[in-house]
């Protein structure tokens, strides 16, 4: 059993998708052969396809951008479909959102599902992960514990489905951490980033004409 894990964050490194995939791989353990690949914004589709074409199953991991998947991933799916390059695989999806509520990734997971329906692949389950911005701060928390408990449980369930090439229902999960504290943390992160770039907090809301 070969699973191709396609990290489709536009970022070339240090993505939240990468951190979430690290927890997923903990559950996959030695149950299947993993082909690890990146589909960042500048990747050639041919190269990515050649890397993953021999896998029995594919898993796409991506962030929620404008309530949907990032455009470069959508373009990759269109390219595969238009060139009739992928059929009959089990397809899994993990979408992480900056919003607290994992359910906000539902439309973005559905896009993968409908792509499967159009291309003859088998959509085999998805996870919508809320609170993705916290994952960097939770790097030292052991898998399955603390604020990641519910998210990691859902990752464990989809890992089991991947390992057995079976289908599971999609799950939408939040951090086990209060929403108001997550919101404060996220605000603090943006304040820190703009200051680091030499700006002021009020510049975050700058209006241009």
């Amino acid at each position: 059993m070969k699973i191709a894990i396609i990290n489709a964050s536009p970022k070339t490194r240090n993505s939240n998708s990468e951190l979430i995939l690290s927890d997923l791989k903990h559950y996959l353990n030695d149950q299947c052969e993993i082909i690890d690949t990146k589909l960042s914004y500048n990747c050639a589709f041919n190269r990515v396809y050649n890397e993953v074409k021999d896998a029995d199953s594919w898993l796409f991991a991506y962030p929620l951008y404008v309530d949907n998947m990032p455009s470069h991933l959508l373009k990759f799916l269109e390219w595969l479909s238009d060139n009739k390059l992928s059929t009959k695989r089990n397809i899994y999806a993990i979408c992480n959102c900056g919003f607290y509520e994992g359910v906000q990734a539902e439309c973005a997971i559905n896009v993968v599902k409908f792509w499967c329906n159009k291309t003859g692949n088998v959509f085999s389950g998805g996870v919508g992960v809320g609170g993705g911005e916290a994952f960097d701060a939770l790097k030292s928390v052991p898998v399955g514990y603390g604020p990641k408990t519910s998210i990691d449980k859902a990752l464990g369930t989809i890992a089991q489905a991947i390992a057995t090439k079976s289908t599971t229902s999609s799950k939408f999960v939040n951090l086990d951490y209060p929403r108001f504290l997550y919101k404060i943390g996220a605000t603090g992160r943006w304040h820190k980033l703009i200051r680091k770039n030499g700006g002021k907090v009020k510049d975050l809301g700058r209006q241009l004409t």
């Binding site: 914004y41 455009s71 943006w190 703009i194």
Partner: protein
Amino acid sequence: MKLIITDIKNPNFNISGEHQIISPQRDIKPCIGCFACWTKTPGECIIRDGYNKTGITMGKCDELIIISECRYGSVSSFVKNVQDRAISYIHPCFVIKKGEMHHKRRYFNTLKLTAYFYGNDITEEEKENARNLMQSNVDNYNGELGKVYFYNSKEDLEGIAL
């Protein structure tokens, strides 16, 4: 002003009033996920390919019209690319609205979003997803959702009154 974002290269629409059209007249670069449009050059994308000021244009509009092929219950990758490159229209920080976390406003205009999807094999499930996506977009744009239309082909949109 009306802003029309479409994946039709040479659109032939009957548009009244002040408007701007964004269509695939030139190549668009993908969003690189750097968030510079929020934290380095707030309000504007740093990729200078002619699509970097869409967020600013959205701040001047009262109508946003999306005309796109429906791909798997989504807008097409071109339209999504334009949307990704325009996240500077909104503020990075969060607010709670309708019981959910969404983005804070940067501008104080209210966009009315109308969408025209086309495609010859759009399923009912895909239509529902496309409608839900448009609703989620307006929730984050702090706008209002107008009608969401579905057409069987791009040709059916020829000369449409906007």
